[in-house]
Amino acid sequence: VPSTCDWRKATNIISSIKNQKTCKCCWAIAAADNIEALWRIRYHEFVEVSVQELLDCDRCGNACNGGFVWDAYVTVLNNSGLASKQDYPFKGYPNPHGCLAKRYTKVAWIQDFTMLASDEQVIAGYLATHGPITVTINMKLLQGYQKGVIKATPTTCDPQQVDHSVLLVGFGKGKEEEGMQSGTVLSQTRKPRRSVPYWILKNSWGAEWGENGYFRLYRGNNSCGITKYPITARVDHPVKKLPISCPP
C-alpha cells in the first residue's frame, strides 16, 4: 500500500462535486461517482452518468427518500448500464413518468459489484490499485465541519449508526500546521501541530461545503464507521489486471 493516494490529481478521473439538494440521494450520487471514476480509469473515456436514472429506476422505489448503494448497482445491472447526465439529467425529485432508462443509449455499465473487507489497509490497497470506492459513514459530525481531519471516537461518532454514503478518493498523511481558528463568535483556539493519517472523501453537498466539497477523516480507527460498507463496482471482466496506480 503506497503511503499516499489522491485520485483527484489524476486528469479527468474524478468528476466535479455534485449537490443532492433536498433529495436524499447520497447513495445514488456515490454509486454514480464510483462508476464514472472506474470507467474513466479503465477505458480512458470521460463519462458523466445519470443519477436521475438511479432514482427513477431504483427497484425499491425510494428515489429521494434514501437508499443504499447496493440497490443502485442492482439498478445499473437491471437496466444494462447508465444513460448520460446530458440525456437523463438530475432533477432532484422522482420523474412522474417513472423510469426512462430504455429511451437512452448507455454510456457506462458494470459487470458486478463487490464489498471489501472491513479493514482499512485492505481498503487503501484496493483504492490505490483499482480506483475510488463508496463508503457509508455516520454523518453526525459533518453538520458543523469546516476543514481538517476529523478524528472521531465511538462516543462522538457511533460507527454502527451509518447513514450517509460518499466516495473515497484517496488517503494521505499530513503535517498539519494549525493556525488560529477562524470565526467571529468562536473563541480563538490553537490546535497543536501533529501528523495524522487521513482518508479523503468526496461528498454530495456542493462545493461550498467542507474543503471544496471534500472532507477528511482520520485513517486507522474506523472513524464514523467508514469500514462498515466499503462497496465498489467492477467495470471490466476479471481478466489479468492492467497495472494502474494512484497518483501520490
Partner: protein, 104 residues
Amino acid sequence: DSLLTKDTGPRPLELTEVFKLFQIKYNRSYANPAEYAHRLNIFAHNLAQAQRLQEEDLGTAEFGETPFSDLTEEEFGQLYGHQKAPERIPNMVKKVGSEKWGQP
C-alpha cells in the same frame, strides 16, 4: 428540550451580526419573527456545539458555521441522511434449490 434560552437579555451583538451574515451568505429568510428567533437559537446552539466538537476532536478538524448551521441535528439527519443502513446487507442471491429433502 427547548433550545429557547431562559436568558431574555440582549444577545451579544456579534452573534446576531454573524447570523445576519449567515442569512446573506446562504440566502436564508424566515417566515416570521418567531421563526427567526427559533433559528437564531439553533444557530447559537450549533456554534457552541461546533466549539465543543473542536475541543473534543482528536484530529485537526475545524468546526464552525456551515450551510446547515440553522438546522437542528434531527432536521439535518432527516434532510441529508438516508435511513440507517441495515445491520447486514440484504441477501442478494435467491435461495437456490428446494426446501424439500432429496429434491434437485
